[in-house]
């Protein structure tokens, strides 16, 4: 009993000392907290160095998304390059988990250190492609999926990609 009472008195004393300790509070709107560059916040779609959309509408992000907040539709241009016809993220559902970023084979979808996305109207939380697309390359400058992929597009035929051998002519018998 005596020990229990003593412990209460000690805890009173220790808590009282905290009057002189520095508060841990960050006064948020005036004093912005530091967010790391890889902080998982608002999602953006990036472009490759040529200024084209990186997204190839493979749907992996939509599959990986645990809350199903990503919706997109694939389409092609006249040279066979894939791109999303629409790309829609419902940020009122998004939990900023970053699974889409991990799933993306082209570094197109990226999370940014920005979380201040409050809206009065819930419909405004649904971002379309023109809201998501940024003009830069995001966290992976210089990377272009089509430059390392074997697919033929405009101005780049098969075998012209980075580290890619010429395609084998299966109709020839030469080694």
């Amino acid at each position: 009993m005596l020990k229990a009472i003593l412990s209460q008195i000690i805890s009173l004393y220790r808590i009282c000392l905290h009057l002189f300790a520095k508060a841990d509070t960050v006064q948020y709107p005036e004093e912005m907290p530091y967010l790391a560059p890889r902080y998982r916040g608002r999602i953006v779609l990036t472009r490759d160095p040529d200024g084209n959309e990186r997204c190839v509408a493979c749907n992996l992000c939509a599959v990986a998304c645990p809350v199903d907040c990503i919706a997109l539709q694939k389409t092609e241009d006249e040279h066979g390059r894939w791109y999303p016809e629409f790309f829609r993220i419902n940020f009122s559902r998004c939990i900023m988990c970053g699974m889409c970023e991990e799933a993306c084979p082209t570094y197109s979808i990226q999370l940014t250190p920005d979380f201040e996305m409050c809206e009065y109207d819930r419909q405004n939380m649904v971002y379309e492609k023109e809201h998501l697309l940024i003009s830069g390359q995001g966290k992976y400058p210089g990377y272009s999926f089509y430059n390392v992929a074997g697919k033929a597009i405009k101005d780049k035929d098969k075998g012209e990609a980075l580290n890619e051998a010429q395609p084998i002519d299966i109709k020839s018998l030469l080694p």
């Binding site: 009993m1 209460q8 805890s11 009173l12 009282c16 905290h18 520095k22 508060a23 509070t25």
Partner: protein, 325 residues
Amino acid sequence: MEELTIFLVIYGTLLGAFGAAAVLVWFERRLLGFWQDRLGPNRVGPFGIGLALADVIKLLAKEDWVPPFSDRLVFIFAPTAVVITMLLGFAVVPYTEHLFIADLNIGLLFFLGMTSLAVYSVLLGGLGSHNKYALLGGLRSAAQMVSYEVFMGLSLMGVVMISGSFSLVDIVKTQAENGWFVISQFFGFIVFLMAGIAESHRLPFDLPEAEHELVAGFHTEYSGMKFGLFMLGEYLSLILISSMITTIFFGGWLGPSFLPDLVLDFVPPIIWFFAKTGTCICFFILLRAAIPRPRYDQLMSFGWKLLLPLTLVNLLITGAVLLWL
């Protein structure tokens, strides 16, 4: 005393008590914040003191709702009881030797009677709500308050024995000669402190409203200004208990005797009273910040098995010393 002075003191007490209770809403949160390494409310006005006003406006503007399943008469009567009894309790507090509303020859008993009547607000609030959490809170408070009233009364009897009077002014005057009662009646002080916390159901002993078990206990169904009255009553009882501790055990308006006479002559008595009461309130808030809530059976056994024997022994020794020494 002249009638005008009495009226002034009455209105001063009323305004002061209400104002202090409103400011305490802000002050308690702020102080709790500091003790928990936070800042506390600091947005509204300088240092956040506008929070007191904002809270009052919010409570007044809220819908004053009486649940259809409740017992209307009891439900509406309950919150008024605590405020009325606590304000009545201020009638016997002597701020200085000449500044008080009434110096009853039974002042101490009057205070005890008023605190014991304050139970009804919690009890009837729980009964009238027709809600099981409220009922459980009311039941708990009934048992807790009735038990701790016993120790509260008994712990003060040693003081009454030494000073030979129930009048609070006389009790303070005795302390001018004999030294503060916190030294000679230390165990009485400890028990009165505990019982005071339990009576005003402040945080370590706030089992009637224990929010993690009983939602909000007896005021689960209350909203708007009726809830505001409960809150006001709680802060009023905090102030009342603090000023009673000051008056009975810490020498009321007397300055500490170890200070040089120059300081004692310079500082007016009322400053000493309010400074001591304020310190006491801060201590209550520190208790809230530091001590976890005990279990209900722990609370009861702590009261009956530790505090009651302690008070009885204290009473016995005090009586023996007075009789034979």
